[in-house]
Symmetry: D2
Subunit: 341 residues, 4 copies
């Protein structure tokens, strides 16, 4: 029986999600297992190890990389360590699944891509929404040409609750932390690179976020190389829940999705007709996408083929985010070429 | 210019609706006008005449029938006079649009049909829902065979508020007054006659209705000659509004409609997502159907062709209603042949 | 650490579903594990044991019952063995989760209930739909009285494809095999016993089913002890997919659900607007309900409390099914008291 | 009986719509009638007069203004004559309903406003969408504060088919001809003035429109004085029909509408579930809004009160449109103050 041994680096929220997913994976003829989980907060690593019967835990990711039995690692550590660990893992010959964003600078993302290439290992980036059935279907329809060529893209992406202002400050700002998913989604759905960005931002949800130097509300206009124009609207707070929608108007039709709900029950009363609120948390809404994403990572390793969301995808989303940030500061449209230079 | 002169008999709720519809009719090359409106409550006739600039009003429908200029009459009087007036009108050579039900006995409906036939005039019956775009579309799809042959019919027909118990008593009962629309709809949608009826009735809305000898809630199972089975569910009170839906499951698909709303606005809040209540009143919900119905009556006269909803349709709905009533009393399924005998 | 050891009896479709669910269960402080899987077709038992690392497999359920370590069994064998195995398991002091129907005769269901009672073990019956979030929400709302008292119940339950005529013949017929879920749902949603049943059945999907002595299409009218009236509509074939809906009209409102879809994407084209078909298979549609059901069984054992769906629920659904069958044969409404006698 | 005499100037598409609406108006105690219809193409005026029994027709609007019996005029002539006729009508003491846009220059709109003010007559502007039940409800909810303060506005406004390139050239361009409705809607829904505009335009539908110097696809970002940010997306061609939606995300909820359909029928087949296309034409989609709009004009005159959509509303929409045009040319955000200067 084939064997695939994985190390999980980072035992926080997303590390737990991925570790559980791998524990439940059933692939005929392959024994996939997690051997290591490490976290600087070693207690978290130990707890996750206990819960999922993972044999080894610790604080230092270098122990994982030094283990010759380990085939691949999931980099679920804090953002500022993503590229460093990914590079070290590649150099150690391990396949890498790296959470988003790979890094906050283009140079370091490029270094990670180069390291993976040189080592001949897979580098997959955690833009999980690409693996959601809704967005994948929209992309498939648009890419097929069945409804013509894309004219207007609209992405709505709103969180149910704002992060703490402290988090806002250290995360690199809304565009690098939250909108980066939408920048990737924009490229994914349209199948073309973004040439120019204009960002209109505002602080409407929490003044503390503004004082911390970030924004909480934005409209970002994108102009793609293939002529499509698009807009992303973001808010850190949609009181009714996690608001995740996309719409692509094409020359011969439109594809759009709607939010997901826990149940479909409609209650009709004398005053109103009401239904359930949308799923409120990204781990509810995107449960399936996390499973498919990890499944594809494992398949890519086993099949020796490229992942559908790779280092370059991580890089290009960052480029758009940096252009959006520059547009916000300068108050004018910014070409992505400007931030590449 | 061709001329078509109409008399309106009965100036109550439905008489007003039809009179206004005719006043607004614009048919190129034809001068359609109402010359008469009469009502036993002559004040009501006079008021309607004044509002719509109708030249003549009065109390006695025989004046209308005696006017040689009148080509057609709308019989919108109280139910117990429908057949008598329709027969007299036919004998006077006037085309007849008769509100539902034509009568509460089969014999008298047959007499009205015979009178119209003998006189060579049109007899159209006011089952307006046939002219609603939703139900007409379902019927068209089913009749086309595009989704195969019908297996199961479901009609939901619920009023927003019960009538007074007094009305319940004199109207002939729920089946003859309210469900008769649904019995016609059943025949219309399936395109086959009903062979057997089983009615389960209950008094759940208002005990006074029960004391007056009627029911206010019912499930009526229908077995059609073509093998389709169907169910009508009725309530005299759906607190959220007028509930009017139909669904036909066929061997190769299903056609179904939903309720109509004043607006499409959805309000999403922290507690719930809500939308508008359905249109609450039959004159809102079926506005368009009344216009199309009268338009087709006028066209049938002008074109000399048979109306799409005629005396026989009025008769067959009555047969089903009488069978349902008998089923309710006997507690067993009743063949329509039993009430014909 | 507490320990709960389970034996799975029957390694067919539903046995596999439940075994997988238990394998994935994570209950803090409790070690839940499957020790046995048995099936007369021993190869199926062995395969399932291998896939889920279950230590012991075999052909004979008596081996499981003889194992003192086993706390509970899941009876997922063929229908005709359900009551026999459940009784034997109870006598062996094992808690029992028994798939539906418990048996095709009331006497044998009563015997199973009595055996469990005498042995002081839990007997839960596998009406999984009670654990679906949609139906549970409808029931909760109705039971709360928030929308008044129930007047009309409507359950739509249609399979995407008919079974083989052979299966139709041996399964006890559509009412005992398929509609029994809906009879349980009816009791669950309304919270009252069914007093009378009228069944209108037809063979419209597949003449072979008729020749095998069964029907494939039905409308079943129910009259509940609390006065509610209800209708179940069944078809063995809804070409668009698994059609599972319920609607309860109450004196002060209505609660209704709709079907579930794989994705929410709407594609608008020049000819039509279209969306996904409903989930097509009961294991997709009811995935979550199977998990919750098994979770509640385990919790009931651990907490020493009664399950929310017990032997009596299994019995009462059977009573309604037998009354429906009798109504179909006699062509008249049948009181449930008649089949109890 | 009070009397209100109206002259219709312009017998084209929109002139006909308004004339018919007035013909059907029934206001108790008031005799509202059209005395004149004029059009440079006198044949069109004559035909409309004949169809609606309007006593006088002609080519020259000055005849209408000279008639002392005329109380009010509807200016439905070609755009380039709107302000001139409105000013002349005001000077003649007639109330004015002027179709949008009032003019393509701010100075001339200001002149029309001043003329109406000086003469003490009403000047209402034909932004009919304000009178649509959907948009009025969204505005009412937002203005009530019930869902907090607005954060993000999204307006989707797409035509089913592009105009001829010739029309595109003479109409003042898409922003002045089509988007001007949306600019008004933006002000209406948010209740605040627009401070800054960024327009991203493209020619994606028809290259001929580009050659004529116009665009056919656009995303326009708006920044309001109250801090709200908004986006309008326009296309000259949505193949599935007239796409008219708005969504306002507020601090405590969201209000949004959807498109309108001719019927609600859903057809579920083995391949797909499909429903009707949206109403395809602005006169279908906005029928009711035209009626309400004219009704409010008549009421404003009779009640001596200000209309809910006046000359200043016409002016402000123009200001935004001109800023959008400038943004398109310069490729940068433009403050509305710039085009006022």
């Amino acid at each position: 029986m084939k064997k695939l041994t994985i190390g999980v680096i980072g035992a926080g929220r997303i590390g737990k999600v991925h570790a559980k997913t791998i524990s439940k994976l059933v692939i005929p003829g392959v024994d996939v297992r997690i051997k290591w989980v490490v976290d600087p907060v070693v207690k978290m690593a130990e707890e996750l190890a206990a819960a999922l019967a993972i044999p080894k835990s610790g604080a230092d990711y270098r122990e994982v990389l030094a283990d010759p039995e380990v085939d691949a690692v999931l980099v679920c550590s804090s953002t500022n360590t993503h590229s460093e660990i990914s590079i070290a893992a590649a150099k150690a010959g391990k396949h890498v699944f790296c959470e988003k964003p790979v890094d906050l600078t283009i140079a370091r993302v490029d270094a990670a891509i180069a390291a993976a290439k040189e080592a001949g290992v897979i580098l997959q980036v955690g833009f999980n929404r690409r693996f959601d059935p809704d967005f994948r279907k929209i992309r498939t329809i648009v890419a097929s040409g069945a409804i013509g060529v894309p004219h207007i893209l609209k992405i709505t992406s709103r969180d149910p609750n704002p992060p703490s202002p402290q988090y806002a400050a250290v995360s690199g700002g809304m565009f690098l932390d939250m909108t980066i998913h939408d920048f990737d989604m924009a490229r994914y759905l349209i199948g073309s690179e973004v040439a120019e960005v204009f960002a209109a931002g505002a602080v409407l949800v929490d003044p503390e976020i503004g004082r911390a130097g970030d924004i909480d509300t934005a409209l970002i206009t994108l102009r793609f190389e293939n002529g499509t124009i698009g807009v992303i609207d973001n808010s850190r707070k949609a009181v009714f829940g996690y608001d995740q929608r996309a719409e692509v108007l094409c020359s011969n039709g439109m594809a759009a999705n709607s939010n997901h709900y826990h149940d479909t029950v409609v209650v009709s009363g004398a005053e109103r007709i009401e239904n359930d609120l949308p799923q409120n948390f990204f781990m509810d809404r995107y449960t399936l996408s996390f499973e498919v994403e990890i499944g594809e990572f494992v398949e890519a390793i086993l099949g020796g083929k490229a992942p559908s969301c790779d280092g370059r995808d991580g890089r290009q989303a960052l480029v758009i985010a940096l252009a959006a940030k520059k547009s916000l500061v300068t108050g004018r449209p910014v070409k992505t070429a400007e931030v590449e230079a």
